[in-house]
């Protein structure tokens, strides 16, 4: 076996030990603890607000558009942070490049705005 694969063996053993540890502790707890369930105890938040409704509630589909727009700016940020750290070296060239990049992304936002996507009807 090559060194490369051997180092994956370590990862595998580590994972197995992790799973085994969780199993052992949960199993020990189950054997040792007293078991007297009642209604109040089984609630998700024993001392919190009374839960209402079903757990399968639907989220409004309109949030989806906002999630998409968020992803747009998220990706933008990923590119802007390293660029900003090195802006001095990139000089005017970098500035223009980033301006073009942001312009194209901004076009997407203006498009969404113009099409009335941002309105909460």
């Amino acid at each position: 076996m090559s060194d490369y694969l051997r180092s994956y063996l370590t990862v595998g053993i580590f994972g197995l030990v992790g799973v085994a540890l969780v199993g052992v502790f949960l199993g020990l707890g189950r054997i040792l603890r007293p078991d007297h369930p009642n209604l109040a105890k089984n609630e998700a938040y024993e001392s919190g607000v009374e839960p209402t409704g079903d757990m399968w509630s639907q989220a409004n589909i309109r949030y989806y558009v906002f999630a998409l727009l968020f992803v747009m700016f998220d990706v933008e940020a990923v590119f802007i942070f390293p660029w900003a750290a090195r802006l001095e070296a990139y000089e005017v060239f970098g500035l223009i490049e980033m301006a073009i990049f942001i312009f194209i992304l901004l076009l997407g936002l203006i498009y969404a705005w113009r099409k009335g996507v941002l309105k909460w009807v």
């Binding site: 490369y4 942070f81 390293p82 750290a85 090195r86 070296a89 990139y90 060239f93 194209i104 076009l107 203006i110 498009y111 113009r114 099409k115």
Partner: protein, 502 residues
């Protein structure tokens, strides 16, 4: 912490940019932005200009491609990650012209169906942008970016008939399979990067072909990469999305997927095989051999039993992908003729398949269906369309003197020239499959010419001008490529091995 990292990297040197080499991509990008701007400013009033602006954009992109071809010099940027050579220029021209014909056959379909129009052409242009970028990509990351840029708009285009369940199914299946393939591809690429430490295809080849026998990681990497692209070109056993997607998607989009998207998959595959893997032919050649042989046979056999013409064309497309893969299985023995054979097949296939879909769209304007039985008696009320369809079908079957004949001849020439057992076996496969394929192509021909029209309905098909011009262009090209094969032969005398890396 970022500043500390940056200090270690050293001074930033601006990469020299050859604006002429990047001009096709930049032109197309500019027109895509223009299309979006027009939508923002004019909203619905811009609708009728969208197809015009898209086709102007595509034709404008041809200008730098032609000037680059006239100039003739091989150009290379970003350390060899972006290469403009003759092969790249031919493929770019194919994508642009195929895109132009798709715009021609879409314009009436999209506006009469009351679908979103500005967005349709915007997405079409960005998908084509990914394709022309793919033709120049010689680097794992560039290839992946180009692949995603061409795929993601295509997923959306497949669902364009938003309120039609079949179209939703088409898009969803295409999306899920496509993303799955991308994941496999990316995993393969990561393995190759791990084994070689470079993303540049030229360096990758040098690194993985250094030893006599490949390491397990390299084998896995190559297999995963080929599987990823096999989805894109719909080779058996990775073809399962194709028939459902083709049937459900709007027909112009189907034409686009079956021609441009498939060609893009082949371009990527050829870049990988001829530049990145060429020294490891012991790994990829058996795999490509199996894919080619199985794709041809299974595609043709299933096509025999189809009753819907779009599904039939989908399976025929699977078989055609098999033909195009065949020369790649002898890529290391006769690299130049193998590459030229596949490139010429792609060029000719693009023309004849787009033409066949144009006829399907034209006929569906009257019959509202794509069932083969509805083509009965077509000759009695649409003789022009019948002649065109017959030309495309016989071209696809490979009957001289139409274009498809020359394409198949090149394929046969390459596999025989290799003079290896696998090459000769593939030659036999191609020959036998051509005969099987002739049956289902000719069956439609017989229905069109000999049968009576259903219900004796002889109202003629009204073909709008843009669709008509697409038909004229494709018919002319199919015949010219068949009668003057030297034309394609001269153009496609390309080599990926020389001038790479520059």
């Amino acid at each position: 912490m970022l500043a500390a990292l940056a200090a270690e990297v050293g001074d930033f040197v601006r990469p020299p940019i050859d604006w002429h080499a990047a001009a096709p991509e930049l032109t197309l990008l500019a027109f895509g932005v223009l299309l979006t701007l027009m939508d923002i400013v004019w909203l619905e009033r811009g609708r009728k200009w969208a197809p015009a602006l898209a086709s102007i954009g595509l034709l404008a992109t041809m200008v730098p491609i032609i000037t680059l071809a006239v100039d003739g010099a091989d150009r290379s940027m970003f350390g060899g990650a972006f290469v403009v050579d003759k092969y790249a220029l031919i493929m770019k021209a194919v994508f642009i012209l195929a895109g132009y014909i798709v715009v021609l056959i879409s314009s009436n379909y999209i506006s009469e169906g009351d679908y979103w129009e500005n967005e349709y052409y915007g997405l079409l242009l960005s998908s084509i942008l990914g394709m022309i970028l793919m033709a120049s990509a010689r680097d794992l990351i560039t290839i992946f970016i180009a692949l995603e840029l061409l795929s993601i708009p295509a997923y959306m285009l497949a669902t364009w008939r938003k309120r039609d369940l079949k179209s939703n199914e088409a898009g969803l299946k295409y999306y899920l399979m496509g993303v799955f393939a991308s994941a496999i591809l990316l995993y393969g690429m990561s393995l190759l990067y791990g084994a070689s430490g470079t993303t540049l295809l030229v360096d990758l080849n040098e690194s993985i072909s250094a030893s006599d026998s490949p390491s397990a990681i390299v084998v896995m990497g190559i297999i995963f990469v080929i599987v990823g692209f096999a989805f894109k070109v719909s080779a058996v056993p990775f073809h399962t999305w194709a028939p459902d997607t083709y049937e459900g998607a709007p027909t112009p989009v189907t034409a686009f997927l079956s021609v441009a998207s498939k060609a893009a998959g082949f371009v990527a595959l050829m870049n990988m095989l001829f530049v990145g893997f060429i020294g490891r032919d012991d790994v990829y050649e058996p795999m490509i051999f199996a894919l080619a042989a199985v794709s041809m046979t299974v595609g043709n056999l299933i096509a025999l039993r189809q009753t819907n013409i779009v599904r039939m064309l989908a399976y025929s497309g699977v078989a055609q992908a098999g033909y195009m893969l065949a020369p790649l299985a002898v890529a290391s023995d006769v690299p130049d003729s193998a590459l030229a054979a596949t490139v010429s097949y792609l060029v000719i296939y693009a023309v004849m398949n787009l033409g066949a879909f144009a006829v399907v769209i034209a006929v569906a304007r009257k019959t509202r269906s794509a069932e083969i039985d509805d083509y009965r008696g077509l000759f009695h009320y649409a003789p022009g369309l019948t002649v065109a369809m017959t030309i495309f079908l016989f071209a696809l079957a490979g009957i001289p003197p139409l274009g498809g004949w020359w394409a198949k001849f090149r394929i046969m020439g390459a596999v025989i020239e290799a003079n290896t057992v696998s090459g000769v076996v593939l030659g036999v496969f191609v020959a036998v499959n051509s005969v099987i394929a002739l049956y289902y192509y000719a069956r439609i021909g017989a229905k069109m010419w000999a049968d009576e029209a259903p219900d004796g309905d002889l109202t003629p098909v009204r073909v709008p001008a843009s669709l008509k011009s697409a038909l004229v262009l494709t018919v002319a090209a199919t015949i010219v490529f068949g009668v003057l094969p030297g034309l394609v032969g001269d153009v496609t005398k390309v080599s990926l091995l020389a001038g790479v890396g520059g």
